[in-house]
């Protein structure tokens, strides 16, 4: 039995290994052809290069070519005869150095810009990788939600997926803007100071890295995430802050892109589209924020009137507390005390002061004064449901008096010992 099992495991392992090995086999001819094609493109690009940025980009592409084809060195050494792989790379690097020299470009500047371009390429590939991963995560989340399974295992995996997706989306957002920064840092001049040809070159650099496409995709993913997950106050604190950060980054980038795309109406339209999408995203975040906060009260059966902005929120919470204080005589003490306890323990201390108030205040949705107003109202409510200190002291004094009186009576009743 054990032998059969071992044989099956071995067979599966062999099948897996052979599946992997055949899946990886490429045509040597295609490898050789594709190397030659890329090489020719690089050589042609060197012939037409005019600027330090172009030379830097070519330099980075030569390094990338070397890295990509190094595993096929043995094959290329044969197919490139009488040259070989290394000789070909030396030749194209020599061609680039000659062209730089002819254009009066200093190698140091090329190296500096090439380092930035490497960053752009790395970030661009990471953005792409994260985008694919996020798409898969979102599908998994939607499938799990559609299954309606409520068991602990499903809930745990759903939470883990949501957390992973949130962190991925946030990481990708950061990478996109870091990538844009690295692109713009390659052009020393102020963007407005660039001539039309230079603007065109920056535009094609941006295009090659799908900057606007990635920004739009990021906004779409953020909105889909918002719509496909149920959020807590803590989640919203992160989401609101991410949205604000994204909007602030775009505020810096949008005008630069508008200058770059001034001659390209289609692309300029894209910049406006991002503005519109960003506004819509902001509105959805706001709506999610107020929905979640409204739900916090309804979940605990607290009849706070619905609100859609900071002022309404403050007014309606104060209104609710006022009603509770004013209608005190219409209900039993126990009922009043229970509503107060739910509000203070589950909502006020549990969520509002710990999570929501910092979020609302830091985003200037509710001011500190307004927070103070609610707090003061809660204090008034407390004194209306709890006995005041004076009453408490009077009760304590009465109890002490009664105890003393009882002791005194007892002492009086105790018979005196007989005198000897």
């Amino acid at each position: 039995m054990k032998t059969i099992r071992q044989s099956i495991i071995l067979a599966i392992a062999v099948m897996m290994v052979s599946a992997v090995s055949f899946a990886q086999e490429q045509s040597d001819y295609e490898i050789s052809q594709s190397f030659n094609k890329s090489y020719k493109e690089l050589s042609k690009a060197i012939e037409t290069a005019q600027t330090v940025q172009e030379c830097a980009e070519i330099s980075v592409n030569i390094d990338a070519l070397e890295k990509e084809y190094m595993p096929h060195k043995a094959l290329l050494d044969k197919t490139l005869y009488p040259d070989d792989f290394q000789k070909k790379l030396d030749m194209v690097r020599g061609q680039l150095a000659y062209a730089q020299n002819k254009l009066g470009i200093i190698q140091e500047a090329v190296t500096k810009i090439a380092a930035l371009e490497v960053q752009v390429k790395e970030l661009s590939s990471q953005v792409e990788k994260l985008s694919n991963e996020n798409g898969a995560l979102l599908k998994e989340i939607q499938t799990l939600r559609a299954s309606n399974a409520q068991d602990q295992k499903t809930v745990d995996s759903l939470n883990a997926l949501v957390a992973k997706l949130r962190s991925n989306i946030s990481a990708r957002d950061k990478m996109i803007f870091a990538m844009v920064d690295s692109i713009f840092m390659q052009y020393d001049k102020n963007i407005e100071g660039l001539n039309d040809v230079e603007k065109q070159k920056v535009a094609s650099h941006i295009e090659r890295n799908s900057v606007i496409g990635n920004i739009k995709k990021s906004i779409v993913d953020n909105v889909v995430f918002l719509e496909s997950t149920s959020l807590t106050g803590k989640d919203l604190a992160t989401i609101v802050s991410e949205q604000k950060k994204f909007a602030a980054e775009w505020k810096g980038l949008g005008p630069k892109l508008a200058v770059i795309y001034v001659a390209q109406k289609d692309r300029a339209k894209e910049v406006n589209t991002v503005d519109t999408m960003l506004t819509a995203w902001g509105a959805k975040v706001d709506a999610a924020l107020w929905n979640t906060l409204n739900r916090l009260f309804t979940k605990h059966n607290l009849t706070v009137k619905p609100f859609n902005d900071g002022n309404e929120f403050v007014a309606n919470v104060i209104g609710f507390i006022d009603d509770e204080i004013q209608n005190a005589n219409q209900r039993t003490e126990v009922a009043r005390s229970e509503v107060y306890s739910v509000f203070v323990d589950s909502v006020w201390n549990g969520e509002l002061t710990a999570t929501w108030m910092p979020l609302l205040q830091s985003n200037s949705i509710v001011t500190e004064t307004q927070f103070g107003q609610i707090k003061a109202k809660v204090d008034v409510w407390r004194s209306s449901v709890e006995p005041g200190h004076t009453t408490l002291y009077v009760i304590i004094a009465l109890v002490v008096l009664v105890v003393l009186l009882l002791l005194y009576r007892r002492m009086k009743k105790t018979p005196k010992p007989p005198v000897v």
């Binding site: 052979s18 055949f22 899946a23 086999e25 045509s27 040597d28 001819y29 295609e30 050789s32 094959l75 044969k78 197919t79």
Partner: protein, 156 residues
């Protein structure tokens, strides 16, 4: 005198025998990578790198039954370590193995590799140094070929 004559004859015949049996081996004929040759209107192909040129009309007729519409066919050819030429092309159901002969290529083996014809065939040499030719066809599992037929994969 007689002894000298016999000795001389023996030495000369030994030298003559030695010359005729002189062999250099092993010889590796293999091409590192296949060639993709476009057939012209007359059915000719020319491989400039390894200097071989021939007419493929009989081969195309054998495979398709048509020796007229031959122009533009993309013939894929590779030589194995023993010097045999392996040839095929897109839509072919077979791989043809030829041996070189004086001024001609002689069919050594016709290997059936596909029932419907291959979409994008390609040849590779064996990376592990075995005397096989790998036949690739898109995402299908590679078939290992030798001059005598399929060695691994496909239908033997």
């Amino acid at each position: 005198m007689k002894t000298f004559f016999v000795l001389s004859c023996s030495v000369l015949s030994l030298i003559a025998f030695g010359c005729s049996s002189l062999t250099l081996s092993p010889v590796h004929y293999q091409w590192p990578v296949e060639s993709v040759l476009s057939v012209d209107g007359k059915g000719n192909v020319e491989e400039p790198r390894n200097f071989i040129a021939f007419n493929v009309k009989p081969l195309l007729f054998e495979e398709t039954g048509d020796s007229v519409h031959v122009s533009g066919v993309e013939l894929r050819i590779i030589r194995d370590v023993d010097g045999y030429y392996f040839m095929t092309a897109p839509k072919f159901k077979n791989v043809y193995v030829f041996a070189s002969d004086e001024g001609k290529l002689k069919l050594e083996k016709k290997i059936v590799v596909s029932e419907t014809g291959m979409a994008s065939p390609a040849f590779n040499q064996d990376k592990e140094g075995r005397p096989y030719i790998h036949l690739l066809n898109g995402k299908e599992k590679p078939i290992l070929l030798s001059k005598s037929g399929i060695q691994q994969g496909g239908q033997k």
